[in-house]
């Protein structure tokens, strides 16, 4: 073993400690610069504005200036302590270097002495061994002295590090005016600082800062104000402290809601995995959580087709126990906050989290990826929205599932728009009974939607496209001639008829049934490479000129020869 192996340096390097000192000094310089600028600004303000309100601002500025000024000296002081510690460490390293040399010299001398003894032919064997033992004992004693000195050096450095830590803590403790500077741990929260600034404190009180998040249903504008009034630390604490409330709060950026919902997701999983036994309900809960986690990972494992890195996945809504544990989830493929285009996929009957999320996420991934390829200059986020209690056949017929779902859909559409940094081109895509839910939402409420796509629709809850309150030409219909559900006319007019007033696009699938309607053809609208998917994407990216229009249906479904009367029935689908 060499000296450098046997005798390590102190854990910190002088250059690193000096670097921390330099950063403290630079921060102090910035704080000093801000103080000077604040004084100039206050003078400028006083010059231009006098009166009671001006005095209020002036007092606030004076307080702010005092606050920043209180930072300058402690930072300089801390920098000096750190520099002193860096010197101590540097000296310690020099000492260690000396000890290492000494160590290596001792080892070399021992080797030389031992070698000389071995080669000395005049020494008889036993005597040679006695001499060698003496040499070894002597060397061990001398090495022990070196080790002891090395430990003393390290102890000296550790003690100085503790002293420096106390001095830096004391400096931090003296930052806020009125603090004792006794070296007690600094736990100042932003609220301590804000309390010293009356106008800011009043503004934060007015925005509701300091209490729990605003209750559900608070207008998104107020939520946004509340969020903006929090400091970044407070925002992080809110995400960790109230993940359920934050995750469901419309008006917050999608990334924030996603962070909260994912925090909740991981917390739920940890909670459930820690239990020794699970009830049936708990089993479903855990299954839902693991499925959502897997879908998020699935999206993030893909690359943006335009080469912008991993695809973003956001968990906009998550409540695994909603609707009798069927679950509520909204998973976005793409960054909703910054996307130029946002599309919501609204699924139909019987769609619940465990049964439909994987397929719906796959559809969303295809829409986002195809939109990116189709329109490389723009970004698209597609939301797999399992946000309502999708009914079974009986509930769909007898109940008001579409109306209840419409309320939830509208809330989520408005929430996305309120939290987004840009105004996205917003498309709602309803499949099957999802088109009834989407149509009901657009019929009854202001949604901010630009386009709606109805695919495989059993009726969109209205008789005419204009009842959806969109400009003419912004209601689109995809209806495969082989899809039996699309002929039902059950929840409003079949939108593939000319009299409905929508734009019908081509949606025949190459794998469609050869000659008759087939329930399998109800689920092919998002198939990879299909003309339906291409046309849906053209709507999502507002590329209206590229949409392949289809002829409208006649009023009669089956002709006397039993062949479907849809003019699309005889057209060969694009491949």
């Amino acid at each position: 073993m060499t000296g450098s192996e046997a005798l390590p340096y102190p854990s910190d390097e002088p250059a690193v400690i000096s670097g921390a000192a330099a950063r403290c000094t630079r921060l102090a310089a910035v704080a000093g610069q801000v103080v000077v600028e604040l004084l100039v600004g206050a003078g400028q303000l006083t010059e231009a504005w006098q009166g009671q309100a001006a005095r209020g601002c002036d007092i606030e500025l004076q307080r702010a200036t005092a606050l920043v000024r209180s930072l300058v000296e402690p930072l300089h002081r801390s920098a000096a302590h750190l520099r002193a510690h860096a010197e101590v460490v540097a000296e310690a390293r020099t000492s260690v270097d000396g000890l290492r040399r000494k160590y290596d010299d001792l080892v070399a001398a021992h080797r030389g002495e031992t070698s000389r003894l071995l080669q000395d032919s005049e020494l008889v064997g036993p005597l040679r061994r006695v001499f060698a033992d003496d040499v070894l004992a002597s060397q061990q004693a001398e090495l022990a002295v070196v080790h002891r000195r090395h430990l003393e050096v390290l102890d000296r450095v550790a003690a100085h590090a503790r002293l420096t830590a106390r001095l830096v803590a004391a400096a931090a403790g003296s930052v806020l005016p009125g603090r004792s500077g006794d070296g007690s741990p600094v736990s100042a929260r932003e609220s301590d600082l804000v309390a010293l600034l009356p106008l800011l404190a009043a503004a934060r009180r007015a925005a509701g800062v300091g209490s729990s998040p605003p209750p559900p249903g608070t207008p998104p504008d107020l939520v946004r104000l509340w969020w903006a009034a929090l400091t970044s630390d407070e925002q992080q604490r809110a995400v960790r402290g109230w993940p359920i409330a934050i995750g469901a709060l419309g008006g917050l950026p999608a990334a924030v809601r996603s962070a909260a919902n994912e925090h909740r997701l991981e917390r739920d999983i940890a909670l459930l995995l820690a239990r020794s036994s699970l009830s049936d309900d708990d089993e479903r809960w855990l299954e839902s959580c693991l499925l959502v986690r897997a879908q998020l990972a699935r999206v993030r494992a893909t690359r943006d087709p335009d080469g912008l890195g991993p695809t973003t996945a956001q968990l906009l809504a998550f409540d695994p126990k909603a609707y009798g544990s069927e679950g509520r989830v909204a998973l976005a493929v793409g960054d909703v906050d910054s996307a130029d285009n946002v599309a919501f996929l609204v699924p139909g009957m019987g769609s619940d989290l465990r049964g439909a999320l994987a397929d719906l996420t796959g559809n969303a991934m295809r829409v986002t990826a195809a939109a990116r390829l189709d329109s490389p200059g723009t970004t698209t986020a597609t939301v797999a929205w399992l946000g309502y209690d999708a009914p079974g056949l009986r509930e769909a017929t007898l109940g008001n599932a579409a109306g209840d779902g419409a309320d939830l859909l509208v809330a989520d559409l408005l929430a996305v728009q309120a939290g987004s940094a840009v105004v996205p081109h917003l498309t709602v895509i309803g499949h099957s009974y999802g088109s009834t839910t989407a149509g009901t939402a657009l019929r009854d409420r202001e949604t901010g939607t630009d386009d709606v796509v109805l695919v495989g629709s059993p009726g969109p809850g209205v008789e005419r496209a204009k009842q959806l309150h969109l400009p003419a030409g912004h209601v689109f219909v995809g209806a495969s001639s082989r899809d039996p559900v699309s002929y039902l006319d059950r929840f409003g007019k079949d939108p593939a008829h000319a009299s409905f007033g929508a734009t019908r696009f081509q949606a025949e699938d190459p794998t469609r049934n050869a000659w008759r309607v087939d329930v399998d053809d109800h689920s092919k609208y998002f198939d990879p490479g299909s003309e339906s998917l291409a046309n849906i994407v053209d709507v999502v990216t507002a590329d209206y000129a590229d949409i392949d229009r289809a002829a409208y249906r006649g009023e009669v479904f089956l002709r006397p020869d039993g062949i479907n009367s849809d003019p699309e029935a005889r057209r060969e689908p694009a491949r």
Partner: protein
């Protein structure tokens, strides 16, 4: 009670801009605070330096919020003043 109010719209706007720039400067340095303890290994020393840097970061962030608020107030005050001044001039008062 008589209130004395004197306002120079241009001066207010300039002051508002200065406050806004300072808010930006303060916010821009938040990342520097996070980097202060980088590389330190001694646990006690690292914790103390981190606490100081956190405090500096919190202070700069609160300051930036405060300056943004003041800048908004000052700017809106200037706008109101310009509006009032315009009305006064149009009506030939004073």
């Amino acid at each position: 009670m008589r209130w004395h109010v004197r306002v120079q719209g241009d001066g207010l706007l300039a002051a508002g801009s200065r406050l806004e720039e300072l808010a930006w400067l303060a916010r821009d340095r938040l990342g520097d605070c996070a980097r202060v303890p980088a590389g330190l290994r001694d646990p006690a020393l690292r914790e103390a330096v981190r606490a100081l840097a956190d405090l500096a970061g919190d202070l700069l962030e609160v300051l930036a919020d405060d300056l943004d608020l003041l800048a908004t107030k000052v700017r809106s005050g200037a706008t109101v003043y310009d509006h009032v001044e315009g009305s006064v001039v149009r009506r030939g008062i004073g």
